[in-house]
Symmetry: C2
């Protein structure tokens, strides 16, 4: 068995520096857990001569990736440089050189995860990526551990800190989306171009990673039905509150009878659902397994130190696997063929808010539309509007129905004369389903 | 390296049967993770001839513990028989015979954990006990993983399902403690003798296990300041709600400057604290690490299948360690000497509810008592009582103070003429501290 494991680091930003520090400060604990020592021998940087805060005794800095990727002494590559195109090439080269990889890169894993896992498997290498989803929360480990003795049927996640921060502030302070977004940008909780976050794309990438792993299927970004939070209003939130719900941007992956559904959208959760109380920029992933039932992992979704600790945890696993000679055996690329649920198979409840004309027969016309599709109401609110023409606000929460039936109803409502406006429409999740 | 790992099982109740089933049904996944196969060869039962629901082909049943403990072929003992005295002897014998142990037994670990860990370490054996705290939630693994690269400063847990169920019902339905306890007993959520649960003892045992591990100190049951939930009233809960708190039975372990405090008591948490929304019989453990910040693990605290999956996860770790030859190296018995905080060092906020005489100078007399101890108020409510003599209800939430100062105030209040009655007193946790 090997007596020392040698690591090459790609990138020396805040996360990379954190990894260097943790490995330096925790040699004794690491050696206890793994049974041999570990050292970082080389680091890829953009500029060798730049001053660094972290102590780098005995570590060789290089601007040439090949000096690391092709170094026969190096066992494991830790990738914290970010980016996708060049980074993918580096990691493929690492696998060809029989090096194991730990990465924190969600964009890379969502785009090229399948290709990279295949390359790792073909070369008998490990690829670990705990830090790519929900920063410091050991959710990937939780899912992997669960897989050895359980079957997962549902993964629900608040996996984007920016949008959860925005929705929390809108809900708690009754302030508009635009106003809160602007404040979040000023405070550094949102990017100056917030598109990837607020349109749900970042969350979708993470759900691709979680669903692929949890269901052992090749899930792609195109399989995810995505809707962002840009149209959420404080009025919606007020009605949610009245009805006992909390509005959150939820990534949802469900499996039933071998068919799956993956989506990211603003959803209503019952207030007593564990995800309903995850506030501000925190992340949480709720996992349902047939044996264990419901579990949830909560913590910081980002931050350099949480991310660095997740990377070191992965590194410990890889080092153990190297010494056990079980690298590259897990996770299997895909145990199951991916079959997406059709619109007739995706079942959910829906929340719908309408402005309708207050005239004889209007309500009846609307309810008979729902009856025709065999969709019944779980909750109903009607309230007169202060408008020139007599009109009312109508809020409906349906019982369980299919996406197909709901879409047919929605399209009919858009055309109906008694419907002035469809103000909002959300999926409701987290009850008995 | 070994090519097959052989397990001996002590006990074949519902959890034991679950372990047999999982190992039988997940051979392929287990082999992938560990790199070799695993089989259960023998099971200790009370009655060999009893009919069993679980399939036991190739498994030898015995009523003689020695047949398992002294069998040279067996590598790992899985203990799911319960009990403490005899069970301790069995496990000590297992270690003498160089066998690793996985146990689900919290009573045993809280009472004899130190002795057993010492015996394991002396014999170069592993002792794992994930299932002993919070059933299916991988919290011990979370804490162990964290220790490799972080320093934990706070562990807060809702680790008793029965009391959390009772408090949830009292809070949600405004019903009295006695009434809810009776219902919980009828529903099977509480034992017919509920003492260990409602007096906080069960939670204290789990906190001994968590604190010993998380702080790497030899914490004993006598070190835990314990108070149960039997005196909690719905009035207290109503005031909590008004002030933005939720009342929970919390196990708390804190470390600062090498000094620790471990306690179990009903505490007030701010409503936005992650533990405040853990409802019914669910468990959750909140862990604060200097690097990772706050994380929380949530899930079922009990149940045979969740417990069995936790045991199998431990078994995977032990099997990996056997093959790595790193057994018995972790956790170290105690890296640090235990130093308990004195009453002058234990800092917290407190909630206090008093009935006081409504007469000139009464309020002033009370406030000057607090001033003398340099304790100031964070929140205050006063409300006239419908009594014959003019009286008022006074609810106080203090700013941070020491336990010593608070106890001095409390003792003075008990003697004061203007104080009719001290209705209740709780610690407040979970804010910035």
């Amino acid at each position: 068995m090997k007596r020392e494991i040698v690591v090459g680091l790609l990138g020396l930003g805040t996360v990379g520096s954190g990894v260097v520090e943790i490995i330096h400060n925790h040699q004794r604990e690491l050696e206890h857990q793994v049974g041999c020592s570990v050292k970082i021998s080389k680091v890829l940087v953009q500029n060798k001569d730049k001053k660094r805060d972290v102590s780098l005794d005995d570590i060789y800095l290089t601007e040439q990736a090949e000096e690391i990727l092709e170094d026969p002494e190096i066992d494991v590559i830790v990738e914290v440089m970010g980016g996708t195109h060049e980074t993918r090439d580096y990691l493929l080269s690492a696998f060809q050189n029989k090096k194991h990889v730990v990465t924190a890169n969600k964009d890379l894993m969502a785009l090229y995860g399948r290709e990279l896992i295949n390359a790792a498997t073909e070369n008998g290498c490990d690829l670990f990526f705990e830090a790519s989803v929900a920063g410091g929360i050991p959710v990937i480990r939780g899912i992997r551990d669960g897989l050895a003795s359980d079957r997962l049927t549902k993964i629900m996640g608040i996996v984007n800190g920016t949008t959860n921060y925005i929705l929390t502030k809108m809900d708690q302070e009754g302030r508009d989306y635009e106003e809160v977004l602007k404040e979040a940008q000023e405070l550094g909780f949102a990017e100056s171009d917030p598109t990837a976050d607020v349109e749900g794309l970042d969350a979708a990438r993470k759900m691709v990673i979680l669903a692929s792993l949890g269901f052992s299927m090749n899930v792609n970004l195109e399989d995810v039905v995505v809707r962002g939070i840009t149209t959420v209003t404080t009025e919606d939130m007020e009605y949610c509150r009245q009805l006992g719900y909390t509005l959150k941007l939820i990534g949802l992956a469900k499996r039933k009878d071998g068919r799956i559904e993956v989506t990211v959208q603003p959803m209503l959760l019952p207030n007593n659902h564990p995800l309903a109380s995850i506030h501000d920029e925190f992340n949480a992933v709720y996992v349902y397994g047939e044996a264990v039932g419901e579990t949830m992992f909560y913590g910081p979704g980002a931050g350099s130190l949480p991310t660095a600790t997740a990377i070191v945890s992965d590194l410990v696993t890889v080092m153990k696997n190297i010494r056990l000679d079980v690298t590259g055996q897990f996770p299997p690329t895909a145990l199951h063929e991916k079959v997406l649920k059709s619109d007739e198979e995706v079942e959910a409840k829906y929340f719908l808010r309408l402005h309708v004309k207050d005239e004889t027969g209007a309500f009846d016309e609307i309810t008979s539309l729902f009856s025709k599709e065999e969709v019944s109401f779980e909750k109903l609110l009607q309230w007169p509007l202060q408008t020139e023409q007599p009109a009312a606000e109508l809020v409906i929460v349906t019982h369980m129905t299919t996406r197909a039936a709901y879409e047919r109803i929605y399209q009919q409502l858009e055309k109906m004369d008694v419907v002035i406006d469809i103000k909002s429409s959300y999926r409701v999740e987290g009850g008995q389903s």
